[in-house]
């Protein structure tokens, strides 16, 4: 994992055990995805819904000629639905078989965290959230939840 760091910035001794995360919020949760897993961040795009698909699949978007599946993170995390007036943002993450877009509420900064601030996920989180979270970084005043993109994408649609 640390090898990902090479080439991003000049390695200093302290950076070797620090990581960069793209942050975003879903509901009142503050998440981070490793910056190298993120392909791009986009405003709301027009979406084609997929009838009969699981509710977490919000639809398909045209990303410069690529068809990308968009997953709603609120549904995925078991949070209440967005209201009509709340828009979503596309956080396009790379996966083994092409890009997938995660619909989140707000996009935050890319932040750097020290590995000694890391802690594993507390047991008292709701199960559906716990399984998607790799661990937690204790930041000043707030907690950064590390999202496991792999697990988020593990949904299979059958009809």
């Amino acid at each position: 994992m640390t090898t990902h760091q090479a080439g991003i910035a000049e390695p200093t001794p302290s950076m070797l055990d620090s990581r960069q995360y793209s942050t975003f919020t879903v509901g009142d949760l503050f998440f981070g995805i490793e910056v190298l897993d993120v392909q791009e961040v986009l405003r709301h795009l027009e979406m084609t819904s997929v009838p009969l698909a699981p509710s977490v699949i919000e639809g398909l978007i045209n990303l410069r000629g690529q068809i990308v599946t968009a997953l709603d993170m609120r549904t995925r995390l078991g949070l209440p639905q967005r209201t009509e007036y709340e828009t979503s943002m596309n956080m396009v993450v790379r996966s083994e078989d092409g890009a997938v877009s995660l619909l989140v509420d707000e996009i935050g900064d890319v932040i750097e965290v020290q590995s000694d601030a890391f802690e594993s996920t507390p047991d008292n989180l709701p199960a559906e959230q716990r399984e998607l979270i790799r661990g937690i970084y204790k930041l000043d005043g707030r907690l950064l939840l590390v999202l496991s993109a792999d697990r988020v994408l593990q949904i299979a649609a059958t009809s």
Binding site: E46, T48, L52, G59, N62, G65, I67, L153, A157, S159
Partner: protein, 910 residues
């Protein structure tokens, strides 16, 4: 790095050479004396050997070397080709392949020395004069270091002396000189590119003497072809194809945009772009095209080996090997095709003895045919073997529970032959080492359907089997129909499209009918199951109040259904993009595409949609057993009167029910008490106009009015119809249960779908007393239970009974009959439940004291055996008189008996 490239080149080339060699050697069996063929084979194997030597693959070189010796004996006419020899050479080739695979994987030889194979090869080689090992010192011998080469050199050393005179006799001195010079070069330059070797080798065949000139010509043309072609990485082509796909999308977008603009230059440019894109698309698609021969080339070997191991003689013919297909499709059909061919050889074509006995030639023939037809490629695999044993297949299907016995009886031979594609139907008796290696015919079918193809099988018992595969030319860009439903756009692949129907106004109500809630459409006299796309996909009902219905008629797996959509837009070339992993499991979509406006649209999977909506059931079993929807009537032969009324084009009643046909001038028809009546034979005959009774039109009387007169005891009733059509005597094959209150069902009669009316119900609309059970003639009002698996057939029997005044209780099986018998007081039972249901019911009834005395009448033609005497009567299915007489006789008997039974029970209580 360079080495690696060199080795890759060698692998590719040797692979191609081996493929060619395989075909050529099998060819050689047919034409053992063809010098050109022999020369070519020798050349090929020599090339392989030479290259092996260059790259220091000693083992490989050793093996090829001995094979080359044998081939050279052949070439020089010193021995003739025997099947054993061919097998040996083929075995050697397998060894080379194995080595090549190992080299590809590890860059090293497998380490196996093939001692056994080499020993056998050497033995065969030495069977004839050992001195005729025509090995001219090839570069391989010099370049290949290692112990093996040394021993080999020692071996050949004593022979060399003898060869020289022989060789000079055979070869023009120039050729030898060239060879020697080149060999010398190859020795001096330690790494020489492999094409050097092939050049050198191509000088070799002129040595054959007589056909020097011809061979030279061949070499010349070959060289020019080689110069004009280059190898391109398939990955690059795929990338190019994707880019063209993107370009097609961009073009679509521009076209859509420019059509809205009033700019002449833009429009002209857009048109040009359109043209060029189309040409580019075609061009790129062509680069990916490969002749189907690429796959077929492997088959002669397969067939030969199979034939040899089964002791059969099979001649393989190919027709249309040059037919081109997209590379991805070629890949996809390779295994299914091989499997089908294996099956044909193993199960299809019989042994020579069996064939002789059947009066056929001992050698079986297997024909592969490929040709283009309507934008698709057809591949046919035809054998002249014994065909499929339909009875066996059916029997197997029934044993495996894939089919019910009565379904099996109903099946046409064609349907039954296609049962072999059912999963789980392996004709286990015939499994050999050859067939049944993993891929079953069901997998063949799935694989072909996966690439949008269709497979169909026809079998001519005793004459052979034909498997026909239809596949699209390419998968990447397909024409599709854009439709919308529930506010969304969808694409339907054009391949599945049969026709578009537009139903307007009143016809919507009239032509769409429901059978147990399942909508069907009357299309040219046959019923087409339909599904509403928005319902299938659970989309909002957007066009509900519209009086126009757009039906897209689709075909999947040889079955048709109609899909109702809100709007049909246009057809477009679309680029198929696969769905992401998260959506792969959805059977309703085949992929997605980007439309001209940049939005994404889903491509419907016609088969999946059909299955989801229930119009196509997932398996054959389903179609046949869904009793609530379709019911099979038994083969019934009867005479029907056909007529027309209102919107019903073809209605039938059994002729046996009809008393007379009359024509009454309109002036004679009077109205009495709101009903139409006519004075007829000094009585008043009530008339029932059929059209309004069926809700199929207003009451319009023709002049003269066509009336069918029915008699019930001494009462009569007239049914007014629009026109009497015909009298038809036919066996009814398929009947479906009624969907409307006054119809008993529909069936195919005279090739057309015909409705059967519920006569008592229709007549009751004007005369409530008809068939209501209070008919004056019969004092009995206890109902008759009709137990019949087919609702259609039940309806017919009920027709007779009700019209004669018997109330009827219906049951579809023995259990239901018993349950109903428990609840209703029943006077008699008429049962038709093949094959054993009737007897079951009878036995059950006889066992229960309360039901013991109820007379049971069976309908003939159901049980194979004779009436075993336990049934109280047996009548013909459509012998109305006989049925009524039996009932009357039995109920009289029952009445008497009933009294005594009552007495008995009173006695019992005391």
């Amino acid at each position: 790095m360079e080495d690696r490239e060199l080795i890759n080149e060698f692998l590719i080339e040797s692979g191609e050479n081996l493929n060619r060699l395989e075909t050529e050697i099998v060819d050689l069996e047919q034409r053992p004396k063809d010098p050109a063929l022999l020369a070519s084979i020798f050349r090929t194997i020599h090339t392989i050997k030479g290259t092996c030597g260059f790259l220091s693959f000693g083992n490989l070189e050793n093996v090829t070397h001995i094979a080359e010796n044998i081939l050279s004996q052949l070439r020089n006419g010193e021995r003739s080709l025997t099947p054993q020899l061919t097998s040996l050479v083929l075995e050697m080739m397998d060894a080379i392949r194995k080595e090549l695979a190992s080299i590809e994987a590890t860059s090293l030889e497998s380490g196996e020395t093939y001692d056994d194979l080499r020993a056998r090869l050497t033995r065969t080689c030495n069977e004839i004069r050992p001195e005729i090992s025509v090995m001219a010192p090839s570069p391989a011998d010099h370049a290949g270091p290692g112990k093996a080469t040394v021993t080999e050199a020692e071996e050949s050393a004593p022979r060399m002396h003898q060869i020289v005179p022989t060789a000079s006799e055979l070869r023009p001195p120039a050729a030898v000189a060239i060879e020697l010079v080149e060999a010398g070069q190859a020795c001096a330059v330690s790494v020489s590119p492999p094409n050097k070797v092939s050049e050198e080798i191509s000088v070799d065949p002129p040595a054959v003497g007589a056909n020097t000139a011809e061979a030279e010509k061949q070499t010349a043309t070959k060289a020019s072809i080689a110069d004009s072609t280059i190898r391109v990485d398939v990955g690059l082509l795929d990338k190019l194809m994707n880019l063209v796909g993107e370009l097609v999308l961009a073009r679509n977008q521009i076209l859509q945009f420019s059509s809205k603009q009033d700019d002449g230059t833009l429009n002209a440019t857009a048109q040009r772009l359109n043209l060029i894109t189309t040409q580019l698309q075609e061009g790129v698609m062509k680069t990916r095209m490969q002749p189907i021969g690429v796959v077929w080339n492997k088959l002669p070997r397969v067939v030969r080996d199979l034939a040899a191991s089964c002791g059969k003689q099979i001649q393989l013919d190919m027709d249309g090997a040059e037919t081109e297909l997209d590379k991805s499709i070629i890949e996809a059909i390779k295994d299914p095709l091989t499997h089908i061919v294996r099956n044909c050889c193993d199960h299809g074509i019989e042994t020579p003895e069996t064939r002789m006995q059947a009066g056929k030639s001992g050698q079986g023939r297997l024909l592969l045919r490929a040709y283009h037809e309507g934008g698709q490629v057809n591949i046919e695999i035809i054998d002249d073997g014994g065909g499929i044993n339909i009875t066996r297949v059916k029997q197997k299907a029934v044993e495996r529970g894939l089919l019910r016995p009565e379904q099996a009886e109903q099946m046409t031979d064609r349907e039954a032959a296609n049962l072999v594609f059912l999963p789980g139907l392996s004709t286990a008796k015939e499994v050999t080492s050859i067939s049944g290696r993993g891929v079953g015919m069901d997998v063949v079918k799935t694989n072909i359907e996966k690439i949008g193809g269709v497979v169909d099988l026809t079998s001519r018992p005793g004459d052979g089997t034909t498997v026909k595969i239809k596949i699209p030319l390419t998968l990447a860009i397909i024409p599709g129909l854009v439709v919308s439903s529930g506010g969304e756009r969808f694409i339907i692949p054009q391949v599945s499209l049969l026709e578009l129907l537009r139903v307007e106004g009143e016809a919507v109500q009239k032509q769409i009918e429901r059978i147990h809630g399942a909508p069907v459409y009357r299309r040219r006299g046959s019923l087409l199951p339909i599904a509403f796309l928005n319902e299938v996909l659970r989309l909002p009902d957007s066009a509900s109040e519209s009086d126009v219905l757009n039906i897209v008629v689709l075909q999947a797996e040889n079955r048709q259904f109609g899909l109702v959509v809100d709007d049909i837009n246009d057809t477009q070339e679309i680029v198929v993009k696969p769905l992401s992993k998260q959506l792969k499991g959805m059977t309703s979509y085949a992929g997605a595409t980007i439309m001209g406006d940049g939005k994404v649209a889903l491509i419907l999977d016609v088969l999946g949609i059909g299955q989801l909506s229930g119009v196509l059931s997932e398996s054959l079993e389903h179609t046949r057993t869904d009793d609530s929807r379709h019911e099979m009537a038994h083969e019934e032969r009867q005479t029907f009167l056909l007529f027309r009324a209102g919107s019903f084009e073809r209605i039938a009643v059994p002729l046996s029910l009809v008393a007379r046909l009359e024509e009454f001038p309109a002036s004679r028809i009077e109205r009495a008490g709101g009903k139409l009546v006519v004075q007829y034979r000094e009585r008043i005959l009530q008339l029932t106009p059929l059209a309004p009774a069926l809700g199929a039109g207003p009451c319009e009387l023709t002049d003269p009015a066509q009336v069918i007169v029915f008699a019930e005891g001494d009462r009569m009733a007239g049914l007014v119809v629009d026109q009497i059509l015909d009298i038809h005597d036919e066996a009814i094959h398929i009947g479906s249960a009624g969907s409307q209150p006054r119809l008993t069902g529909s069936a195919v009669l005279g090739g057309k779908v015909t409705d059967f009316i519920d006569l008592p119900a229709v007549l009751r609309t004007t005369d409530e007393a008809w068939g209501s059970g209070v008919a004056p003639k019969h004092h009995t009002s206890t109902p008759v239970l009709v137990a019949d698996a087919s609702a259609f057939s039940r309806g017919q029997i009920r027709n007779y009974l009700e019209i004669s005044g018997y109330p009827v209780v219906e049951a579809s099986g023995p259990q239901e009959a018993l349950a109903k018998l428990g609840h209703h007081p029943v006077g008699a039972v008429v049962v038709s439940l093949p094959p054993t249901g009737a007897k079951e019911l009878l036995e059950e009834m006889r066992r229960m004291p309360s039901l013991k005395s109820i007379p049971v009448i069976t309908v003939s033609g159901d049980d194979t055996g004779e009436n075993d005497g336990r049934f109280d009567a047996r009548v013909d299915r459509f012998d109305r008189g006989g049925l009524l007489r039996s009932l009357e006789r039995l109920s009289e008997a029952l009445n008497e008996e009933g009294v005594s039974a009552e007495l008995a029970s009173v006695g019992g209580q005391e």
